[in-house]
Amino acid sequence: MSERELTYRAAINEALQLEMRRDESVFIMGEDIAGAPGRDDPEMVDAWGGVMKVTEGLVREFGPNRVRDTPITESAFVGAGVGAAATGMRPVVELMFIGFMGVTLDQIFNQAAKMRYMFGGKAKIPLVIRTTIGAGFRAAAQHSDATYSTFVHFPGLKVVAPSTPHDAKGLLIAAIRDDDPVIFCENKVLYDTSGPVPEGDYTIPLNSAGHPREGSDVTIVAISRMVNLSLDAAERLSAEGIEADVIDLRCLSPWDENAILESIEKTGRLVVVDEDTPRCSVASDVAALAATRAIGFLDAAVQIITPPHTPVPFSPPLEDYYVPDVDSIIAAVKATL
């Protein structure tokens, strides 16, 4: 029986569609997520479906009241998401690129994230902020960040970064149903990748890790697109008789520390692969977890593979140098052996 395949993009679109059908309080907003807002001309409706076409078609089914194009005012519309969530809705807000967080961070960090706590637990903010991460598009320094670490740092937020269409759908549905604010990080380079995606709705716990490959020689903990590269590296290593245990850290906050610790216990070696820059990063957290809670099991120094501490450059050879690649993962694994 052949499983249905969908792209990462279509899987996200389907999750939104299913949740909007299921629950009237779910609505989506963002810049040009439908396109040509305010125009009646049927040729124009859904003119874009989002800059990455992830929300295509939704305005046709749900109309402009629940699929809202916004002016370019991220503070106001992300904040409107927070306010709508505090008053009973389940908004899904699109922040076009994670690098745009700077114009709206206060509404995320000081309002959405802290509100429940400041109010003594007497509010809930069931808000999802969908955003895109990742280099590889030649989109240069302000449109290529993968800086989810910034959000992981803030208490009050949950952060997920799926690497497969299957996880994207299940995590997004879980995020929408969750009563806390969730930052949902979609990797632009993954939108066109395909994989099996069950029909109908299903959820994946927001504190879970994926375990796409088992092995006993070395643990590779990777995030988002770095999981794919790590699996490629693992294939090549396997040919040399080195079996990697690959952990997909799809949930960044909360995170499944035990999945990591159990794997380290098994392998005694740890390589962390992260597309975010190195300082104060999830990669550091994983290494710190090893240093604080698995030191007795480590047979080698931990290896961390990330981009350098630089912004993302534009020119193709520079950008290609910036993003971690399969060779560097393989070299890191070998350095632990």
Partner: protein
Amino acid sequence: MELDRDRLLWLYERMRLIRAFENRLHDDFAAGVIPGFCHLYAGEEAVAVGVCAHLGDDDFITSTHRGHGHCIAKGVPVDEMMAEIRGKVTGCCKGKGGSMHIADVDRGMLGANGIVGGGPPLACGAGLMASIRGTRQATACFFGDGGSNQGTTAESLNLASVWKLPVVFVCENNRYAETTSTDYSIGGPDIAGRGIAFGMPGIVVDGQDVFAVYEAAGEAFRRARDGEGPTLLECQTYRYFGHFEGDEKKYRTRDEEGHFRERDCLEGFRKTVVAGELLSAAELDGIDEASEAAVVKAVEFAEQSPLPEPAECLDDVYVSY
């Protein structure tokens, strides 16, 4: 203006209660029993009360760092407020928020806000909820003259305008942001005009006169609920105390303060209703006493309440984690 006796009594009661509450905090702060920053609303009562008079329990407000008056006008119980400001577990935020984050979402009070300009986007959100659901709920968004310069405020004015959100923006222009006079900080002739520029009525209102506020807000909320979109009310008012408790107010003259104290909203109200034989002086005196008593009771409640257990620090971050 159709203001019946009950409504008049309510207006005075609320204003008076705010005044009593804030005066007491002023003293208590000086006595050293109030932790943290404390921004008092005394002097500006007519604004919160004239606006909130139009709101029911299922309407919303967003507030500022100077939020006590908004809370009381919206019906948050003073016992829980005082306990919160003292950091007690019986406080409306269980002691986690304090004066700067005092809130009561169940009563539609979406929180004081330590971030100047933090509230307007939230107000758009409450308005959006009502707009999407097609209810007649309205939201009042309070912010200061200082807050009117913040980009989030401008963005929110525009968003509410283009989406015709049921939000009434209430700028409390009390002439200062900390030490900074509006003469220095406000580009343009007034703040109301910014509303007009963003496509909504922008009206300058005498914020010392609760009747003027009540009337202007009445029309604004009618518009909001009827789907005609937002309004910006610039209410000109004055804070009696410093920016926060401890501020020596070196940036303004005692003369200027005196001038505004002469236009006190409570005094003005009293004169109008007594002269117009709408309420008697005795009735008003009774409210004065009751307000003081309510505050005394609130302080007792707060003082007798326990502090939170230290480890409660860890709770209430997430619904689940």
